[in-house]
Amino acid sequence: MATLKQVARWVPSHWGAGHLVLAGFLALLVLAVSPVIKLDLVVNGLFLGAIIGLGAIGLSLVYGILKFAHIGHGDFMTLGAYFALFLLSDLFPRIGLTGAGLGPFTFGYPLLLALPLAMLAMAVVAIALDLGIYRRLRRRGVNPVVLAMASLGVAIALRGVVQIFWGGGTEQYPRVSKLFYRLPMDVRIPPDNLFVGGLTVVLVVALYLFLTRSKMGKAMRATSDNPDLARVSGINTEHILWWTWAIGGALAATAGVLLAVSQAQLVPIMGWRLLIPLFAAVILGGIGNPFGALVGGLIIGVTSEISTQWLNPSYKPAMAFLVMIIMLLFRPRGLFGAKD
């Protein structure tokens, strides 16, 4: 439990709520074992939740530190996924890098190369957009809602860029189909989801270490807590913002690539469609709390997956919305936030 306590310290405010979530999860698992809910849905919901969580972590950091709702985050995911597509289908084949079906996975080793490059590219894009657009508005001292408005314009324009280059149809990374793993109790897991899960764990641990051990990470949390005090402590908050965008952009790219891998397709609207689950996860976890955003993502992933047992699967985004509304009603500060 010592580690949980450490994790909880990262969460603004009392960590009693951490227990609450854990209990909730155990309850979910127990339910899952019972015949009411198919365990398969719960397990695969967790993988979907991990992808939502990765996107939501970045969104939550941006929200906490820049204090505005970054509507463009879903389209960051899209652009990241398509950038990897460009590498995998256009650039790499030209230099002889091809392949699919690496080990148990559908994709090949080029993806392992394309992913970090896509992360880097989106980190750069995110910083560039800040310098070109958000910083100017910030200097004008506008309201947060105006920044959110500008990010709506960015979201639309980014999707436009994706469509200009790739058209509006569906695309795929080079892949070979693989059999699902069959586990007891009718659980079927696509092998790629192991990659999703593993990578999520690695990135979250890395981010956790960065935020709690490195000077820049601590300064990020300080800025999120109290930007004015951070500035008079001598922290150059402008640099902090760059780090925030870089991390947010890179994680969004990761989430986009993983989404494209696990759904075996890319469409230009994929990120925009995920915006509601992303925000739901952020609000569930408490704005500015990356660990909470991950938990929120998992909860959203599982609930929307479970809902398909009774509802048409296309209602999944509406489920995320419903969870978010319930949260806003009862605990607007999120699961881990202080009570108002």
Binding site: R9, V11, P12, K218, D225, L229, V232, G234
Partner: protein, 233 residues
């Protein structure tokens, strides 16, 4: 002379709050500025530290003009500031709060940390706790400690005793005297300033954004008008 503020104008957006404020602080001095609520005391400190950009006037620290510089550059020159409220990072641990105080100079921070814990022994046992769990008095101590991490030559304190229990107030002012003993000049802003003036070398009265009076601490305390208006008789 350590700090000289001359004819300073500052405000928020289009609202001007300070109208030609002039004060000075000498080396190793404690100076208190008293004034009623809303007179612009906090704004003055914010203008000195660069949180609010002055619109006119001069701010000279040592031999450098610092008006219009960004807060991190002003901090680098040796001015530390403890805001009136929200003066700690609540979700960071005590230790992390102190590290953030030394953000600009990590080397110095490492060296200062044991020294600061020595000065604020109550914080040692709590170093791993989050700042949000501290009591009001402890929080004020942490804020002071954070501000001292960079070994400043001038410390700006905004109402350090506001909202504290009387016992705590004594503790804070004793600590301020102790800090001053180590050679740090201190500029304090207070609304109810009897305790503060008692241990100040000099004081100013600020009202509606202008400096109205300047005198030694004792003489301001003895001034019947000051007593009636600002010290509650």
């Amino acid at each position: 002379m350590l700090l000289e503020v001359c004819d300073l104008d500052a405000g928020y957006g289009q609202t001007q709050i300070l109208h030609g404020v002039s004060i000075r602080v000498d080396e190793r001095e404690i100076v208190t500025i008293i004034g009623p609520n809303g007179s612009g005391k906090s704004t003055l400190l914010k203008a000195i530290t660069g949180v609010v950009r002055p619109t006119a006037g001069r701010v000279v620290f040592g031999s450098d003009s610092i008006a219009g510089l960004s807060p991190d550059r002003i901090v680098r020159k040796g001015i530390s500031y403890v805001p009136q409220t929200e003066n700690v990072f609540p979700s960071l641990t005590i230790q992390e709060n102190l590290e953030m105080g030394a953000f600009l100079r990590r080397d110095l921070g490492r060296e200062r940390l044991p020294r600061i814990y020595e000065m604020f022994p109550d914080l040692v046992s709590k170093r791993g706790d989050r700042a949000s769990r501290l009591s009001g008095g402890q929080r004020q101590m942490l804020a002071l400690a954070r501000a001292l991490m960079l070994d400043p030559t001038l410390l700006l304190l905004d109402e350090p005793s506001a909202g504290l229990a009387p016992m705590m107030v004594d503790g804070v002012f004793d600590k301020i005297a102790e800090i001053n003993q180590t050679g740090v000049a201190i500029l304090i802003v207070e609304q109810k300033a009897r305790r503060s003036l008692q241990q100040s070398h000099r004081g100013y009265v600020l009202a509606t954004g202008q400096t109205r009076l300047e005198d030694t601490g004792e003489r301001l305390l003895a001034n019947p008008e000051v007593r009636r208006l600002y010290l509650g008789g």
